[in-house]
Every structure is written in structure tokens, then in C-alpha cells.
Symmetry: none
Subunit: 214 residues, 4 copies
DNA sequence: AATGAATGAGAATTCATTCAT
DNA sequence: GATGAATGAATTCTCATTCAT
């Protein structure tokens, strides 16, 4: 893993008090991400989050209402900014759809699969049914946007004649699926059958682009 | 979902006592499958398993040493027989590789994605890191065998000239990935964006076969 | 320890059925003695007693009403016959009181301290307050009789001029105390500071006889 | 019984918080001493300890890791300080060995046999085999020290010509044994045959001193 | 009589959350 | 704001005892 995740902070300047508060909140979310990544939601103790952030147990409750809410915040703060970044990078309309698709998948691999964020992915799968509210948020703010991104590129590719016309239902999921599975594999089975993310990426992109190709 | 999962029972005839015990064990595993499917491992209460199976609290411990062991048994009993069936169905060497690949994916969709077993799949992904022992078992007895199955078909397809030569690392994972994601999606996001498994399957098979095609 | 404790069986001949029953009862008591000796009353499981006796759990309840009653039977059957034996051996009035006291203490050391019975002693101390009924029985049937035995010898010794007149309150307890402590020590502290029962016995007898001597 | 046992507190002044914590720890140990005294280790419920100390169930676990550790702490805190006191009182070298031995036995009777501490003594004997760690601690920190104390006095007595030379193995145990037995008797058999500690003490000291006398 | 499967009361322990300091 | 002591509901697991076979 090549990236330490840092929660991005809001832009506007604040009073020192506010800044410190913001900083502590950020530290707590980062600590929580590490703890949830390590042991999952149920087994994570608020105590451990507090320890990891260097504050006392009670303090966590000054910033978050409950363990559930803390979890939701972790997901939001960790994943949403990525989408913004992904969307921003889309604005290179002169590139071929093929290149843009490659680029986005690469982004996905490096930003999510090769960092603690892949644990978030796993946590969503694990806890989603127990946190419908969170699942809904994640769908609305992460998946839908990612889907729109991919879909737009593919449609553009079809329009340009790069890609063939394809059935649309589940297309985005199928295009990205290899990456999802890679992230899970690294977390669960890597110790039994190691997966080389770079080589895997090549296989993925090769298969998918060939599958889409006109 | 079109299939109620029934745990297969061993063939040899036994004494009545033994049979009843076997039956109760089976009932407990089926009950546990339902409970784990509903709420996941951590939130599952042994009491609920007992209730669901219509026995008392203590009885569960006559059959399984602990919640963990019960979970492992559920996974084993639910998934392993499928592989046997999958392997058995392979013996039609006159069919084209394309058809056999389709057939196996279809099997995967109907037997796993469209039944309670998809929850097991999800649980393996969710809890695997907390159960290295189980993850190892699952890898050895389910994934490796599935992998060999798919790989053999693809290689045969290459030999026959149906498929092109491809990078191998992660190939099986990428071929199956769409199905994994479909199962997860149905469990976590279906209520926000429903997924039609049949249509999805078409997209999946279309993309993959085209991607593999020579 | 030089003696395997065998529960004595009643003398009168019985039908085969009766004899078998008696034998199984005996086997259960012996098994229970071993189990209680190993782990104490509370930690002893009826299952373990059954296993140790080679019968099934339910069978124990055919012979004893409850764990408590089984415990009481163990105590009775293990200790009472000893007293009978001790009393019987008293009938040698020509021996000096000194010799008879020595002889009885020797008996105590070999029959109780150097066998599983020392565990009974420990169990009485441990569980007595929780089993007033048992403590009472033990007092009436073991201690009182032992006390009478010792007291008679001492009084005889005084009459013969071997021993001096002594305060009587707690005399028997003080005379025997060294043996009680030896039994406990071997069970609890022997691994940290081993106690040689033979040498200990010499010290005991030397101190007591000198203490009693006219 | 003439003494209410109070756990001694450390000397250094602390913050109010610390003091309260210390006080609560002390209260818990005292409560536990009462509960263990009443029913023994196995039958003691952590709930009862909590109730007895006026705190909630969970609180006990803030101070002690487990029931076992609580038990060990009770033993330590209850017995060790006594040894310090006993050792301190030794420094009167002008007194005769006879007087010093008497004095120490008296101390033993009043501080241990005539207080809740006799229950600890009983519990050590009863539970020692189940708590090897505790038995070792008790041997090293209580018995060894007591033994050295008694042994030193006796040797001094021999040197002064007050006592005769005696076999040493188990001498201390035999000298003290009467007291151990008295403590046990009061707890287990007193209701059936009451024991008057003062009279008993006289018998004990009379027998032992005469036994040792040159 | 013997078995051993089933029961369910009971206890230790954990941990999210609260709140006095 | 921050702390960390206290709470008590919740859950796993145990085992004496019962009872159908």
C-alpha cells in the first residue's frame, strides 16, 4: 500500500478553536478508519478508537453521537472526496474513451485497492445490510456517481466508435467488478494465494477493453 | 431467490438415535445459515439460532463447540457440495469452451447468487480477516477448486482456438468478478437500485466472452 | 502415596443383581473420589465422574440423588471404615500408651495422609461451611470417634504415669494437628517446598510425645 | 471475633480522583473478603461482591481483571501486611525465646484465627491446588517468612539452652499446626462442638513449649 | 437398568454510553 | 472542553438434572 489516507479538511479559515476542533475530529476519523479496518465494525471498541487518536473515551462522544454515526462519518469522509477527484479528472474530453477508462480504473486501483480504503469497501459489504441508512448514502454519493462516470465514458466510446453497443444493465458493475474482487482478495485470501495488483490490473484492463471493443 | 438450501445428509443408514442427531445437526446448520444471513456473524445470537431451530439454548452447544465453529460449519456445509456438483457437471468435453463457461457461470448465478448462499459469500468477504482459519479452508476447498475449473475451460478454449491467449494472473477472478459483485449488490444495494439478475447475467457473459474471444 | 483406596463392600451375600449394583455404586464412589480430589467439589462435573466410572451421565443419577449426595457418600464410605479399623486396633491394652499413640498416628499418616484420602480432609475443610449436614456427619462419625480414641489413650497414659496431666480442651486437636497440616501441605505447597512425610512424622511424634511426657 | 479487617492504604497523598479510586479498590477487596469468606471461591458471585461494595457489576472489572485475580488480591492484601507486623515485633532480643514464641503464637491467634482472616487461611488450603500461582505467592510471601520467624526463635532458644535440639524437618509446621487446626475447626465444626480459643491456646502453648523444652 | 439428548437457569465478562469532576 | 469512572444491558457458554428411548 502506497498511500496514507488523510482526511481532507474543509477549506474556509476558522478561528483557532474551530481549527483545533476540526483537527481533532479529523484525527478521530482517521483513528476510527484504522480500527474499523483492523477488526470490523462490531469488534471495534470505542476505547480503541480513543486510544488510537490519543484522546479519552469520553471525548469521542463529544464529536460523534454514537459508534454508528462515527462509522458513517468514516465512510463519508474517506470515500466522497475521491469521487470529487475522479469527477474532476474527467475533464479531458480530447483523450480517447479507452484511455480515460484505463485512467479511471488505474485511479480506482491506486486510491482504493492499494490503501486502507479497500477496507471501507469491505465494511460496506459486511455491514451494509445492518446499516441501510449508510448503504443508501454510499449508493447515492459514491456508487451512483462512479456509475455515471463510467457510463459516460463508455457511451462516449460508443459514440466515437471505440466501443461496441452493449447491454447496459449492470455494465458499470461488470466493468469495475474485477477491481472490487481484487480488493477483497487482498484482504481475505492474499496470505494463501498472493495477488500482484499490477499484473492483476493488466489482466483486468485487457479483458474488459477487449470485451468492450467494437 | 428460487431455491431453499437444504444441507445434504450423509448416505449411510444409522440407528434412529443417530439419524435424529444428524437431522438436528442439519436443522441447526440451516437455522444458523438463516440467522447469519440475516444479521451477520457478530450480531447473530446463539439464542436466535436455537429458537430458529426450535431447540433450547444449551442444545446448540451439544452440536457445535462455539459460535465460531458453528459459523465455519455453515460455510463448509453450504458451499463445498456445490463445488462437487460443479466439478461433476464438467464432464462434457464435446461442448465448446464457450458453452461450458456459460454453463458454469449460469450454475454460479442460480446456485449461489440467487439463494441464501450469496450471504455466505458476503460473510466470507466480511468476516474472512477475523477467521483466517475459515478463509484458508474456503480458499483451499472452494476457491482453488473453482479456479481450477474455470482455468481448465479457458485453457481448453485457447487450445481450440475459441479464446485468445491472455495474461493469466487473476484471470479467473476477473472472469467471475461480475458475479461476485452481483451477489453483493443484491444484498446491499438492491433496494436503492434493483438489479435484474437475468439481464445482469447477459451483460456479464457478453462482456467476458467478448473479452476472451480470439 | 502407597495405597489405592478401595471402597469396602458390605459383607452379606446378595443376589447377582444386587452385587452388580453394589459394585457399580462402589465404582462410582471411587471415581467420584478421584474427580473430587482432582478439582474440588464445585469444579467437579458429573460427566467426569461418569466417564471416570465408565458409565453414562444418566446412570450416576440412578445411584445418587444429586452431586451433593454423591459427595457425602464419598466422604462416608471413604472415612468411616477407617475409624472402625482404628478402633479395632485399640484393643491391645498391654502396650504402653506411648506406643499406642505412636501406632495410631502412624496409622493416620499411612491411611490418610499418604493416600487420596487426604483430599477428603481438604474437601471437608473447603466445603464444610457449604455443607453443614456433611460437616455434622463428619464430626459425629469421624472426628468424635477419633477424638475419643486419642483421649482414651492419653487418659490411660496419665493413669499409668506415662503422661503428665494436661488441660483437656483441644488436646486431641493439638495432638493430631501436625498430621492435618502435613496433609494440607502436601496438597498445596509440596511443589514449592517438598515435605518428607517420614521425617515429618518423626518430628511430629517427637514433639508431641515430649510435650505430653510426665 | 474481635477485629474488623481493614485493608491498609498506601501512604503517599494523591489527587482526589486517585484517592477515591484507591478507596473503592479497598472497599471492593473488603467486600470480596466477606463474600469469599461466606461462600468460598467457586460459589462467590461477582455480582454479590459488587452489591456488597455498593457498586455495579461492571465496576468490579474496572479494578480487577477477573474473579481469580480478585481472589488473589484479597489474599495478598489480607495476609502480607500481617507478616510485616509480625516481623517488626520480633525485635526484642532480650526476651526469652519462650516468651517470644508465646508472643508470636498469641499474635497468630488474635490476628488470624479470631478474625475473617481465618477464612483466607481456609481458602488457601481449599483452593490452593486450583491456584498454583496463588499458592506459590502465599508460600513465598507468607509461609516462608513465618517459617523463618519461628525457626529463628527456636534456634535462639536452643542456643540459650531453653529448648532442646530437635529434628528440624517440619518443625515450624508442627509448632504452628495447632493454630491452623483451631482456625479450621472454628469455621467448620464449631457449631457442633464449640471451641474456646483462649482455652485452646493454653493447651496448644502448653503442649508445644513442653515438647520443645530442654 | 442404562443411555445420552435436551433443557434452561445461572454466571462471568464485555463495552457502548453517560455524567460528575 | 476533556476526562475516565461508573453503569447495566446483553451475550456466550456451562452443567446439574430430567426424561424419552
Amino acid at each position: 500500500m502506497n498511500e496514507v489516507i488523510e482526511v481532507e479538511q474543509t477549506a474556509e479559515p476558522k478561528s483557532k478553536r474551530e481549527q483545533q476542533k476540526e483537527a481533532k475530529r479529523t484525527a478521530l476519523i482517521e483513528a476510527a478508519l484504522r480500527v474499523f479496518s483492523r477488526v470490523g465494525f462490531a469488534a471495534a471498541k470505542m476505547d480503541d478508537v480513543a486510544d488510537e487518536a490519543g484522546v479519552s473515551k469520553g471525548t469521542v462522544y463529544l464529536y460523534f453521537e454514537s459508534k454508528e454515526q462515527l462509522f458513517e462519518e468514516v465512510v463519508k469522509v474517506t470515500m466522497v472526496p475521491l469521487l470529487d477527484e475522479g469527477v474532476a479528472s474527467l475533464v479531458e474530453p480530447d483523450k480517447s474513451a479507452t484511455d480515460r477508462l484505463k485512467q479511471h480504473l488505474k485511479f480506482f486501483y491506486s486510491k482504493i485497492l492499494d490503501s486502507d480504503r479497500r477496507n471501507i469497501m469491505r465494511l460496506i459489504m459486511a455491514e451494509g445490510p445492518n446499516f441501510p441508512h449508510l448503504a443508501e448514502f454510499y449508493h447515492a454519493n459514491v456508487l451512483s456517481r462512479g456509475q455515471a462516470l463510467i457510463q459516460a465514458i463508455i457511451e462516449d466510446g460508443v459514440a466515437r466508435g471505440e466501443f461496441r453497443a452493449m447491454p447496459k444493465h449492470g455494465l458499470m458493475q461488470n466493468v469495475v467488478a474485477g477491481a472490487i474482487v481484487a480488493g477483497t482478495w487482498k484482504l481475505v485470501f492474499d496470505q494463501f494465494q498472493p495477488l500482484d495488483l499490477d499484473a492483476y490490473f493488466e489482466t483486468h484492463i485487457d479483458l474488459i477493453l477487449n470485451g468492450l471493443k467494437a
